[in-house]
């Protein structure tokens, strides 16, 4: 790959400003996504993955703000852009789909109109042309009878259909990057598989990079080429998705992998209990010193309780942040 990466996040810190005190909700987060690449960000609720996504599109609002670091999209630093330039980027070159397809569509507007609005807004099309393109967009996400469906209101569609409409809206302007924040959490499993398949195919066809955010390690590893695991506001490990199950290095990632049920494990190993990670995620105002995982970690030693581990590079582009990585 030549030229700058599509998205480059460098040492990002997001501050939570709470009554004149600042707490770093996200700290030292760096990653890069190349054109057409699929990248996953995995972590528990509250680990900072969704606010990282908001920071990428310049939509952090008080009490959250970017404290340090840089986000470069296509070589340009997002924080330095004017409000109008950021707006021109959003929806046009960076698009996003959300967890709740139930609420992410305007209930009083036909879905076709909401798709068409993107063409009017970002490509300056007139409404007739935009309406025609909306039918095409709806057809491309495999909604049956799109010319009739464009007139439907969101409440007339099922959850899966709504998420398809969201994908159509997000991909309407052929963005370079699609941020998918828990795109299938609200859907049932069979629909989930269809939606993921659809999203992956459409993005592959158009060369759109995907940043997928989820708590579901299995799902992310399935979709993405590379996966970063976040814990308590930090990226603790980044690996190719094939490696993450086999040779994960960070104790937290290993804990996540071990807590997943495996098909056939009972036949191979007999009846076993799923392992869990002891303890709970620390509160944001109350991160422990040193490694933030140390109170829950079986491998923790004195150095973990005092010194923040540095990032260690592993083979094949992986990295880990642990004193005792495997």
């Amino acid at each position: 790959m030549t030229g700058p990466p599509l998205l480059e996040v460098e040492d990002l810190r997001i501050d939570l400003n709470y009554r004149s005190s600042h707490v770093a909700a996200v700290e030292g987060v760096s990653f890069r996504i190349d054109r057409g690449e699929t990248f996953g960000l995995v972590g528990e609720s509250g680990c900072g993955k969704s606010i990282t996504a908001l920071a990428l599109i310049g939509l952090l609002r008080q009490p959250l703000s970017i404290g340090a670091g840089a986000i470069r999209f296509d070589g340009r630093e997002i924080q330095r852009l004017s409000a109008a330039e950021q707006r021109a980027l959003r929806g046009n070159r960076i698009a996003m789909i959300f967890q709740e397809p139930m609420t992410a569509l305007n209930p009083v507007s036909p879905v076709g109109r909401q798709i068409a609005e993107m063409f009017v807004l970002h490509q300056g099309k007139d409404w007739r042309e935009a309406d025609r393109l909306a039918v095409e967009a709806l057809a491309s996400v495999r909604v049956p009878a799109p010319e009739r469906r464009v007139k439907d209101y969101p409440h007339q569609l099922s959850g899966g259909m709504r998420q398809r409409v969201m994908i159509a809206i997000a991909l309407a302007c052929g963005p370079d990057l699609l941020i998918a924040d828990e795109p299938t959490t609200a859907l049932d499993v069979t629909v989930q598989a269809e939606i993921i398949e659809l999203m992956r195919n459409l993005c592959a066809e158009r060369g759109t990079a995907i940043l997928m955010i989820s708590h579901d390690l299995g799902l992310v590893a399935n979709v993405c080429r590379r996966v970063a695991v976040m814990y308590a506001g930090r990226i603790v490990e980044e690996r190719g998705s094939d490696d993450i199950f086999r040779t994960s290095s960070h104790p937290y990632t290993q804990g996540l992998v071990d807590s997943l049920p495996r098909l056939g494990s009972r036949a191979a190993l007999g009846r076993t209990r799923l392992t869990e990670i002891a303890g709970v995620v620390p509160a944001i105002t109350d991160f422990p010193d040193g490694c933030r995982f140390n109170p829950r970690c079986a491998r923790a030693t004195d150095i973990c309780r005092t010194t923040e581990p540095e990032t260690t590079l592993l083979g094949a582009g992986g990295l880990v942040r642990c004193h005792h990585h495997a």
Binding site: G91, A95, T103, H122, A170
Partner: protein
Amino acid sequence: MRLGANLIIGGALFALAIFVGLLAPWLAHTDPVMDANLLNAEEPPSWIWWFGTDAQGRDIYSRVVHGARISLTVGIVSQLVNSVIGVTLGLTAGYWGGWWDDFVNGLTNLMLAIPSLIFALAIMAVLGPGLTSLLVALGLTNWSFTCRIARASTLSLKSQGYVQAAKVLGYGDLRIMITQLLPNMVGPIIVIGTLGMGGAILAEAALSFLGLGVRPPYPSWGSMLSEARDQITTAPWLSIFPGLAIFLTVLGLNLLGDGLRDILDPQSRSRRT
């Protein structure tokens, strides 16, 4: 059907008032202003003079019919002005927040603290009597409730997923307000507007009764009441019919407002089912 009764009766009364107002020149028997004839002065209601005649011998029926035009114009136009002002202020205040929100809130509280009729009187005193100043006065004094509702709706809608989604998709502030927020709050705004129209008609009657509204000889229901007050014992029909017209129109608008609230408010709808 229980749900429809308010709506149907209210709608019918309001539609009747509009119908009468629109067709006034054809429905009226005589010209409401010019056809004075002292030979027919103060005739009680009869087959010839349906609602009787006044001291100048003018047909009360024709004057009430023409009065509908003025009352409805005042009701509709002034409430439209109120809605536009209230929605604009409330929507922007709720959306942008900050000092603008504080300012609008202060202004709204100020307006709510001053009795609107007194405020309208003051404006009328400056502008002088007449239909135009009546519209200005009533249009500027009753937007605070609309503003409150619009601001409250904006605050609750602002955190909805689709408004957030619109931001992420690159919508500008104005586009979000017009395409995402406004269509989702029309329900309560229409309800308040309908109720406010009834209030404006009453206010017009009051101001005209006080001699500040529509000037004689032009017939408005309020000014007719005002002229009739000396003869209320000798010729009660002079006040009964314009009073009845006000009563029925305002009742109609209030019922219509209630009925609309029943269908437009999703909460009351779900409670019923």
